[in-house]
Symmetry: C2
Subunit: 332 residues, 2 copies
DNA sequence: TTGAAAGCGCTACCAC
DNA sequence: GTGGTAGCGCTTTCAA
């Protein structure tokens, strides 16, 4: 009979003290006689009491919950990111309130509204959502951290260091003798896709202005990698390196090349981005991103920002690491 | 100036009506004059008002939030499951409150307590947590659905149909001429691991009582698959089929066999469980589990159960599907 | 050190 | 149809 519905008043009554004292004990606030404290605590135990957090947050105007709004994404990324957030959140005594936005921008608004009064701040990842729509959806006054989202003036933002990663990989490809490097890009609306593409162009222009630059646009999935690579094969494969926008596209490329009997890395090198677990088993060279770290960092930045003093909004780049495996080994 | 902190009273004042009427409009409850409704709605728009849900849930005793407590797991499973839950939840107008429990059972209690008053029900996945500890942690009166957790008397429960899956795979191996099938099992504390192991034993006993039965215990990861397989190789590989407890173990087995120059599937067949994305690329035969469906179902069962009438607790099995690929093709 | 009481923002009951 | 108002369970002044 540990009544799941014991209230602070039940505790007060049983302990023989006032509601106020119970509250003080529970929050370690104010002075309270050790004996009183013991009384209260034992009443709490006896009743199996635990405070109603909705009530608490109503009266303190703080919920100790963080809203998390993520796109409907597949693969490991989602899980890793949430794992990181959860880790940091629970360390700080926060809970995560989750909501996926499906491509529909309208839903972002809805999700945000559904969280009003329920969260102390939000982490928003909306790589496809134009800055304007996002800003009009974000209630002002609500602390927010942007993850991998365009714009970000006025908010703290975290980003993957796409430029650093791609630059390192292109440099590596050039240094190992590749001359015709083609880039398979993700969708035009996707922020990461665009940054990676631009970084590829910039690095080529800077390091090898005389070499050809070529971008094939697709989407961030293996099917797209397959289609694009097949197109190259149909052209006679005028290429000696394929830099895919992410690992899934690289995977599509790899399988297609294998089926066509093209030697990797001797005839063509292949590189990806993300370092999904798959990459290791495919012996795929790629750029590793610390996604758990990204999630943790997002929560930490948010909590710090909620601390009251509004430190000026900054954009932080999440470091990447070049992972060289078999698919980009120098050709014989 | 859409003040993020407009309250229902601000709206009432601006609209020139009472708080009660505003509430009625917002909840579509009771009768309200269309003209009044318009007034109120335009005031709402003007103020950018959206209700404080903490307050609402305090007064209605319903939060429209579902607590989700999951183990700290890796791989795709987590993301897929949450995706399914989120999909079903948002369809019903519910939010997900997330919390990972790290192996520590103590944390389950903590997580549950942290959700008091914040959720209308919980979905708990704790394959490692003994039934007793779980029951004592679960506040009574709080609707709960168990996912892949031991026991489950008194609660709705969802499970993966481990028995059906393993039985189908063992049958397939026997039918394709395999005679010495060894099972690499997951950890003894893990419910799925035990069910799969038992199903292997039962099926062997039933279909091929004269053939040897052998179980090697490890954990559900690739490293363990590697270690166990290496042990078999060191023994001279007295085996023509390896039935791994899950895909990650199968992966470890596969890589180890490849390195040792053992022909798969000619010399040894390999099978896994889960059908992670990796499996397709490894051409690994496995059992497919619809994880998104499992997540959706969990939410639906929970919401139905919260509907007030306590339908008798049932355990539901989530169907699996035999996926035959290259690693179990009959030996020549 | 303790207690009484005023809200926090909202819903729902009851009276008009 | 509409408005007044009593709580929901908690924190937090303010007095005692």
């Amino acid at each position: 009979m540990s009544g799941s519905s014991a209230t602070i008043r039940d505790v007060a009554r049983l302990a023989g003290f006032s509601v106020a004292s119970v509250s003080r004990v529970l929050n370690n606030s104010g002075k309270v006689n050790p004996a009183t404290r013991e009384c209260v605590l034992s009443a709490v135990r006896e009743l199996g009491y635990s405070p109603n957090l909705a009530a608490r947050s109503l009266s303190t105007a703080r919920s100790h919950a963080i809203g998390v709004i993520l796109p409907d994404m597949h693969g490991e990324f989602f899980g890793e990111l949430v794992r990181g957030m959860d880790r940091a959140a629970s360390e700080h005594g926060y809970l995560l309130l989750l909501s996926n936005i499906h491509a529909d921008p309208q839903m972002a608004n809805h999700a945000l509204a559904a969280m009003r009064g329920l969260v102390d701040g939000v982490i928003l990842m909306a790589p496809q959502l134009p800055e304007m729509e996002r800003e009009s959806a974000l209630p002002q006054g609500l602390p927010a951290v942007l993850v991998n989202s365009p714009g970000g003036h006025g908010h703290h933002a975290l980003r993957i260091d796409n430029v650093g990663g791609v630059t390192a990989m292109v440099t590596h490809l050039l240094e190992t003798g590749r001359r015709t490097i083609v880039h398979l890009a993700g969708a035009r609306q996707n922020l990461d896709a665009m940054e990676r593409q631009q970084a590829y162009r910039d690095t080529m222009a800077r390091l090898a202005p005389d070499l050809p630059v070529r971008v094939l646009e697709g989407t961030f999935d293996d099917a797209s990698g397959t289609v694009l690579t097949q197109r190259l094969i149909d052209e006679g494969l005028p290429v000696d390196a394929i830099l895919a926008g992410n690992d899934m596209m690289a995977l599509g490329a790899l399988l297609t090349l294998r089926e066509a009997g093209v030697a990797v890395p001797d005839r063509v090198a292949v590189a990806g981005f993300d370092d999904v677990p798959l990459a290791r088993y495919l012996d795929l060279s790629t750029i590793s991103v610390d996604i758990v770290g990204l999630g943790m960092r997002a929560v930490e930045v948010l909590i710090a920002g909620m601390g009251g003093d509004a430190s000026p909004p900054r954009t932080e780049l999440n470091k990447t690491r070049l992972v060289l495996r078999g698919t980009t080994r120098p050709a014989c």
